[in-house]
Amino acid sequence: MILGPKMNSASPATPVLLSDEDVLQVEDLKAHLHVGNAVVRAVDGVSFTISRGETLCIVGESGCGKSMTALAIMGLLPKPAGRIVGGRVMLQGVGDLAQRTPRQMREIRGQSVSMVFQEPMTSLNPVFRIGWQIEEAIRVHERIPQAQARERVIAMLDLVGIPSPHERYKAYPHQLSGGMRQRVMIAIALACRPKLMLADEPTTALDVTIQAQILRLMNRLKAETGASLLLITHDLGVVARMAKRVCVMYAGVIVEEADVGAIFATPLHPYTQGLLDSIPSARAGGERRRLHTVPGLVPNLAKLPQGCRFADRCPHVYGRCREEEPPLSQPTVGPLAGSAQKVRCWLHLDHRQ
């Protein structure tokens, strides 16, 4: 081997030029949690792209790494256990978030990329007025006079559909319902007009009727502000309603990526199929059967088996699955060979089976 100039990992990575249409490009992102002596590979090589104004959904069960993916993008991995150990998070006009110092990330958070969390009941600080909490999101990033900030906050409250915003400006979180609090969280997230909003199960904690309102609101605001949305959910109904494209995550990796139509019509990965079979059906006259569940448990992310991560729960498992981990790529065998859908499963990639 010729000794050339050393590749220094500290030098800025060659900037990948995102196309104008791409707001976020995540490449082989790896985020690990160090718990005691174990390394939990919560996010283990995740790649996806979100274009301007697009909604991308990430679905998967609890503990599959979907929330960790969002927190890694935000630079909010639990400290000190969590760390990004590899990959890139390219944000339009900003660069690689994975290479930013905590101080730089602070300036980016809330301004270029923001996040809405699962628990509206506990996500707002109970001792501060909601107006103040939204205003703070603006004043952290912009030096504007108080009166102007206040006006903007009231406009935001109005935008997210909170009635009588002038009075609600002075309300404390406990005076609002869960749905109203989630609207406030959305107002905080959009206060600085970010390019990208991450929403981690934003409706899971809400009543079903309120869920629909919040989803409609997010769709409307996305259209009005032009922001892109990364929506994390375990609810396939939400996926169908919100997104064009969806990534199915399992045990820290994406196992299938497809258009929403294709996911429901022709799910390729056995895990995706299992998820879809687990939706209760209310068809009249349909056969009565026990609700399908995916057998087994999610593998321990600190001790992943060799080969495919889903092998132990897969009804179609065969020899190669236990030896080699399949890549995420377009199917090359089977009836859907060559379709745009991507899958991480040997059933669709292995010619020798």
């Binding site: 980016i108 809330g110 301004q111 001792v127 905080i188």
Partner: protein, 305 residues
């Protein structure tokens, strides 16, 4: 809020009556007040005269009504030692004690809260371990021992500070520091555990997601919430502080109510002892009322109606 305060003030009446009963019984439980207050060689005529003057020939409940009636207007009788009204003696010494208590509380808050916050933020580091060791020590060492050690080290050996008395700022340092030591330790420990709890809360993550600086996240968003339970503990410790005042004032010859109480007990000066107990009880009740009202100020979820 006004109605709440009025109701709370009304509720203090039974408490104060209870305190009066106890202070009244103090003199009766320890034997015939005549034996306590008169010299052993007093003549029978003198004893009888004393009984009649002090109403001790009356039934107990009549005596109590008279005692309580006088106590309510601050009349606990004249000090047997000084001849002045007992309450006047106590009130004269009160500013000195208030000064010491205020300095102690200020010191305890200024050291205890930052120490607790730092220990929580740097959890598991050597900083945290050292703070926890010192606070453990602080809670274990009694103030009478600490006071004596402080005098030996800082006043006798190093000659940095006077051994006692009141007047200069230097004379305030040792008694306040001695009295504050336990309190600092306690406040630091409670602050640390509350901060650890609060820092895990979702709203702290929300603040970080907004891009708020870590300093502001910790000292504004988190501490503002963590301080509420800390306040409870401080309110509960006021009783301990008043007890500590008695010991510390005596060690440092601080001319306050605590030292007066010790002197009065040694001299069997019962009117003064009763006045001190009553005043301390009123202070304790008042501080707890103030703490309860402060909750409503600090925590918008609490409102008093």
């Amino acid at each position: 809020m006004g109605a709440y305060i009025a109701r709370r003030l009304l509720l203090t009446i039974p408490v104060l009556v209870g305190i009066l009963v106890i202070t009244f019984l103090l003199t009766r439980l320890s034997g015939d007040p005549t034996d306590l207050m008169l010299p052993p060689n007093a003549t029978d005529e003198a004893r009888e005269a004393f009984r009649i003057v002090h109403g001790l020939d009356q039934p107990l409940w009549t005596q109590f009504v008279r005692f309580a009636g006088n106590a309510v207007v601050g009349d606990f009788g004249a000090s047997l030692r000084f001849g002045q009204p007992a309450m006047t003696l106590v009130l004269e010494r009160l500013p000195a004690t208030a000064e010491l208590a205020a300095a102690t509380m200020a010191l305890a808050l200024l050291l205890g809260i930052p120490a607790g916050v730092v220990a929580a933020v740097w959890r598991g580091t050597s900083t945290d371990v050292s703070i926890r060791l010192v606070t453990l020590l602080g809670q274990a060492v009694p103030s009478f021992f600490l006071g004596v050690v402080a005098i030996i080290v800082f006043a006798v050996w190093l000659r940095w500070l006077p051994t006692g008395g009141r007047g200069s700022l230097g004379q305030l340092v040792l008694p306040a520091a001695t009295l504050a030591f336990n309190l600092v330790a306690l406040i630091a420990r409670v602050t640390r555990s509350c901060m650890l709890d609060v820092l895990k809360q979702d709203y702290v993550r929300t603040a970080r997601a907004k891009g708020v600086s870590e300093t502001k996240v910790v000292w504004l968003h988190a501490l503002r919430n963590a301080f509420i339970p800390v306040l409870t503990v401080i309110g509960l410790q006021v009783g301990l502080l008043l007890g500590g005042v008695v010991v510390t004032e005596t060690i440092f010859s601080w001319p306050g109510v605590g030292r007066l109480a010790i002197q009065a007990i040694y001299a069997r000066d019962f009117p003064v002892v009763q006045a001190v107990v009553f005043v301390f009880a009123v202070i304790f009740v008042a501080v707890n009322l103030i703490v309860d009202l402060l909750y409503a100020v600090l925590d918008p979820r609490i409102s008093y109606r």
